[in-house]
């Protein structure tokens, strides 16, 4: 089974933390990354949402996260 990761497929891309330091920083700080999501949708054969829809869903989901004391 071959599964697609955020920045491409397989071990190499995951080891790089996406497709570069920008993606890595975005992920580390929990920022939205629409380009990586488009890449994911393309590889998975999904119809991607618009950037506005993606951002709205992303921020809404971030608001449910827990920050520790």
């Amino acid at each position: 089974m071959r599964l697609v990761t955020d920045g491409g497929s397989g071990r190499q891309k995951t080891a790089q933390g996406g497709t570069g330091w920008r993606h890595a920083l975005r992920r580390m700080f929990g920022m939205p990354d629409y380009d990586a999501y488009l890449e994911h949708c393309r590889a998975a054969g999904h119809e991607p949402p618009s950037k506005g829809e993606y951002l709205a869903q992303f921020f809404e989901s971030k608001g449910k996260g827990v920050r520790c004391c």
Binding site: K51, G52, F58
Partner: protein
């Protein structure tokens, strides 16, 4: 590395750590360098990570890189995304590190630097990091399920509900305590209040920038926000120097309490992108940068520790910062940094959904918690570099200071009004007396460390600027926790009420949003107000309640972890979670019992209430009511956790005695594509 070289290396690290502990334990009266503390901590972390976490990963959990993680199987490009372990380490650390590891050690410095440091180092290695790693592993094998869901599935339904209620109650106390720290830092401080007030329009601007003006450009918006924040910090100094402007930003603790309550409500009902997310980004950047800079500064200047290894309050139990002896109160005062139940919510939240390989859980779960402990050790160092007299004057009320004056002078902890006045001038404040809560004393310690570095580099010391930078840094991420905590509490309340009134459970139905936000804010707002008007300073009663509740949540997490280990047939390794569980239950139940039933009015809620009965003092009736309320809360926490422990023990007995078939609710094995390589 050859076996001999490895033995020599790890033998050398162990000997160095043991030597540093020896110096810390045996020195009495001499001024010690912070280098000893850092060496002891870092060597212990290294040995624990190399050996104990490896044992947990390989023998206890049996991490298997051939098994696809939820991030790989459920990859949706958003929540479930396989992520590089270093990137995820940063993400996880930013989520677990808050005010707790900074404030707890500062308060526990009342006992001297040794007890708190030992608990930070030993507690994390055998307890905190084990809890985080265990829950991360359990959630990883269950598609990233939450602690409550795991309790429901692996123990039983009522355990799940009990766990959820425990989290809700704990959240309310936690938010009140954190808000109290901010109130104590900002009262009568125009510079601090102005800077923090500016963070609201800055966050709104950032929200508009990244959502409307330049959608998704969070990095740009955050850089702009950080620049504006530093501008606000500098402008705050100017505002404080203008009498007419300073008066507009000089407020009492009560007035700031109402501002906090209003802020919490507004932040909970506004769309997340408008205030919560931008503030979260800003505080994450600031938190990681400041912690790195503080670590570097401490390593560069290696400040001497002025606080002794042990103070008389360790055994007397009548400390001016908070009442109670070293055992059990040192172990509940420092929660985050040693072991924090709240971490189990993060370890069963976003992190397990992003792990690419099972073996990464060791670095992220165990390693992430070691780093938080290191932050706690740095906070301990910052507090212990203060002159002890100054430390005690800052962290108690004038009455408390007067009552402890004999012990303080016998211990040689002398402070005069002139010294405090001079220090306040140096920090750009009107007064630093009775600034309890830990944040201001940590800020003074940090300011002195940063000022020493800037002075050593040939620049101006800028002590007042550094002090307010430290206050802003602490207040900013405390407010972020208040934003997110109030919102998460609101979701939980909506979910609970939604079981009986489904419409209320709709998170987008505005009447429900407003009503549930109001209930949560009223809950923590009441405890905050109670702390602010408390003649003993508030921290004295609220911080132990917070510590007890947080550690009891850790007990809940360890119960879930133990149950899963037993059901997996790894009962011979159950001691890895049972040992910290037994310790936590002993410590928290003892502390809870003493807080409720101690005959000492400074310590026991009921004794304090009895001492006020019939009193004609203004507000005496309210204080009596608050004592009874705190009694109820402490007993409620203890009861909830006792129920959960009894339920868990019953489950263990049923499984071990073969009266019940052990059903493990793990996701089925799917082979990982990563294991095979590309």
């Amino acid at each position: 590395m050859t076996r001999l070289a490895s033995i020599l290396l790890w033998g050398g690290i162990s000997a160095l750590g043991a030597g540093a502990f020896g110096v810390l334990a045996l020195s009495r009266g001499e001024t010690l360098s912070a280098a000893w503390l850092l060496t002891a901590a870092v060597c212990t972390y290294a040995v624990a990570y190399r050996f104990y976490s490896k044992f947990l990963a390989a023998r206890v959990f049996g991490l298997d890189d051939r098994r696809a993680t939820p991030a790989e199987r459920c990859n949706n490009g958003r929540d479930y995304v396989p992520t590089n372990k270093w990137v995820l380490y940063g993400h996880h650390f930013a989520a677990i590190a808050g005010a707790g590891p900074l404030v707890g050690p500062v308060l526990a410095a009342q006992f001297g630097f040794l007890p708190g440091t030992l608990w930070l180092v030993i507690g994390v290695v055998l307890g905190g990091a084990v809890q985080d790693f265990t829950i991360l592993f359990c959630s990883l094998r269950r598609d990233g399920k939450s602690l409550g869901q795991m309790a429901k599935e692996e123990i039983n339904h009522s355990a799940g509900i009990t766990g959820m209620l425990a989290v809700l109650f704990i959240m309310i106390i936690l938010l009140a305590v954190l808000a109290l720290i901010v109130v104590n830092a900002l009262k009568a401080s125009p510079w601090g209040l102005f800077t923090i007030a500016c963070t609201v329009p800055i966050a709104l601007l950032m929200g508009w920038w990244m959502k409307r003006w330049r959608p998704g450009k969070v990095g740009e918006a955050s850089i702009a926000g950080a620049v504006l924040l530093l501008g606000a910090l500098v402008a705050g100094g100017w505002v404080a120097a203008q009498p007419h402007l300073a008066s507009a930003f000089t407020h009492s603790a009560t007035a700031i309490t109402w501002m906090m309550v209003a802020y919490g409500f507004v932040a909970s009902v506004l769309p997340v992108w408008m205030l919560l997310c931008p503030r979260d980004y800003l505080s994450t950047f600031l938190k990681i940068t400041t912690i790195l800079v503080l670590a570097l500064a401490i390593l560069v200047i290696l400040p001497p520790l002025k606080m002794p290894a042990l103070t008389p309050f360790a055994s007397l139990g009548e400390g001016p910062v908070f009442a109670g002896k070293l055992f059990p109160f040192a172990f509940i005062t420092i929660a985050c940094g040693a072991i924090s139940g709240f971490h189990s919510l993060v370890a069963s939240g976003t992190t397990p959904k992003m792990i690419a390989r099972e073996s990464d859980a060791r670095f992220i779960g165990y390693g992430g918690m070691l780093m938080e402990s290191f932050v706690g050790v740095m906070a301990m160092i910052a507090a212990c570099t203060l002159d002890p007299g100054v430390y005690f004057a800052m962290n108690t009320t004038p009455t408390g200071l007067a009552q402890a004056s004999q012990v303080l002078s016998q211990a040689g902890f002398v402070v005069t009004p002139d010294i405090m006045h001079q220090l306040a001038n140096q920090m750009g404040e009107q007064t630093l007396i009775a600034r309890s809560g830990g944040a201001p004393s940590l800020a003074v310690g940090m300011a002195q460390i940063f000022a020493s570095v800037s002075s050593a580099l040939g620049g101006r010391t800028l002590t007042a600027l550094w002090y307010h930078f430290a206050i802003m840094f602490e207040a900013l991420f405390i407010l972020t926790t208040i934003d997110t905590g109030t919102r998460v509490g609101r979701f939980m309340l909506q979910e609970i009420v939604g079981h009986v009134w489904p419409r209320f459970g709709e998170t987008s139905w505005y009447p429900s949003v407003l009503a549930s936000s109001a209930v949560i804010v009223a809950g923590w707002g009441y405890f905050l107000y109670q702390g602010v008007v408390d003649p003993l300073g508030g921290i004295n009663s609220l911080w132990p309640l917070f510590g007890i509740s947080n550690q009891l949540l850790a007990a809940v997490a360890l119960c879930v972890g133990t149950t899963i280990l037993i059901k997996m047939g790894r009962q011979r390794f159950a001691w890895v979670t049972l040992t910290p569980l037994a310790w936590l239950v002993t410590v928290t139940m003892t502390a809870g019992w003493q807080k409720v039933f101690s005959a000492d009015p400074k310590l026991g809620f009921l004794a304090h209430a009895a001492s006020l009965t019939g009193s004609t003092l203004p507000g005496a009736q309210r204080l009596v009511f608050n004592d009874r309320l705190n009694t109820f809360v402490a007993l409620l926490f203890m009861t909830v956790v006792t129920v959960l422990i009894v339920t868990s023990v019953r489950e263990w007995w049923l499984v071990l005695s073969k009266r019940k078939v052990a059903v493990v609710h793990e996701a089925p094995f799917v082979e990982s594509a990563y294991a095979a390589g590309d």
